[in-house]
């Protein structure tokens, strides 16, 4: 399983440390909020809102170099829209992996 990384952010930053710092700050601020919102809407079976949150979160997967996980999130987003949740355990494990990584930044 691929681990999250900042390769893409570093490439775009091109040595601009303030840009990197801004991105890190936003990730640290937004990710825990989005993760909590995801679990809340998921538990309430508000699948429309859950799909919206997945859509927002999945972009962070790609930012952190997790292309395969992005693909899974896209399928989970579609699945949730139709009220199915088979991919939930896999999606959850990605969230936990990213959460740990962001906390380490």
């Amino acid at each position: 399983m691929k681990e999250p990384n900042l390769d893409y952010i570093n490439q775009i930053a091109g040595g601009d440390e303030s840009f990197k710092q801004n991105i890190t700050t936003i990730l640290k601020k937004e990710f825990p909020i989005e993760m909590a919102a995801f679990y809340k809407s998921y538990q309430m079976k508000d699948f429309k809102e859950t799909a919206n949150i997945i859509h927002k979160i999945k972009y962070k997967f790609s930012l952190l170099g997790l292309e395969d996980d992005l693909e899974l999130a896209s399928y989970f987003e579609c699945e949730v829209k139709s009220g199915k949740t088979e991919l939930f355990p896999k999606f959850e494990s990605i969230l936990e992996k990213i959460d740990l990584f962001i906390k380490s930044l």
Binding site: Q11, S62, L63
Partner: protein, 233 residues
């Protein structure tokens, strides 16, 4: 080149701004997290290029384009590949960038944007029948289907069966959605559950059509429409 960025996601806006740093002729005038605010801004200000996300909570990127009488050049920036075909129906959309956007890909988009062209309209570029292919999502892959080879599409609950001579594709979609993607001069919805390829019709009876050994029911309205479209002696 005067630009604005419209994207609900703050990180995305930062990244586009950072990517623009490498181009001296680009001036980012303003960023918007809400397309409605951008509409108001554009009432009083003109820009050359808009970097536009599609998926936004209150107002989609496509809805936004429809509000502009003479839209500037638009570069779509999205994490969704699924809207690419729809995007290219618009004259004003000059490129479609899938996030995360690489520097190289962004440079190409800027090259396109920097070329002087006639003003754009928000009208569709060409009828959809100019597309020869349709991409459908199947087993986590996007499968290309040759549109002229489709002879029948039938609704089947939450799915549609797209039938070609070689293969039958079962896709999670609706008849209404695929109808919008098929060229209207070739395809016709003849009944609640069927869209047929007119050129594949073998036989027409009172209220039914024979197509690849399948008898398809046809309602009166469809028959009238069909009669207008076939080469009748």
């Amino acid at each position: 080149m005067k630009c604005i960025i419209i994207d609900y996601d703050e990180i995305s806006r930062l990244i586009v701004r950072q990517l623009c740093v490498n181009f001296q002729h680009i001036q980012i005038l303003k960023e918007f997290s809400d397309a409605i605010d951008a509409v108001k801004y554009l009432n009083d200000n003109s820009v050359d290029v808009i970097f536009l996300d599609i998926y936004m909570p209150t107002f989609s990127g496509f809805d936004f384009i429809k509000t502009l009488k003479t839209p500037p050049k638009i570069i779509i920036t999205t994490s969704d590949r699924n809207f690419a075909l729809k995007a290219f129906e618009y004259h004003c959309i000059i490129d479609y960038l899938v996030k995360p956007i690489s520097k190289q890909r962004f440079s190409k988009a800027i090259e396109k944007a920097s070329v002087d062209e006639e003003p754009h309209t928000n009208e569709p570029k060409a009828p959809l029948d100019h597309f020869e292919y349709l991409y459908v999502s199947l087993d986590r892959r996007l499968i290309k289907i040759d549109i002229p080879k489709i002879y029948l599409v039938e609704a089947n609950g939450d799915y549609i069966n797209i039938r070609t001579v070689k293969k039958n594709y079962v896709v999670h979609s609706t008849l209404k959605k695929i109808e919008e993607k098929l060229p209207p001069n070739t395809f016709l919805k003849v009944y609640r559950s069927f869209i047929i390829n007119i050129s594949e019709i073998e036989d027409i009876e009172d209220n039914s059509i024979l197509i690849k050994k399948r008898v398809i029911p046809m309602n009166r309205g469809s028959k009238k429409e069909l009669m207008k479209r076939i080469n009748l002696l």
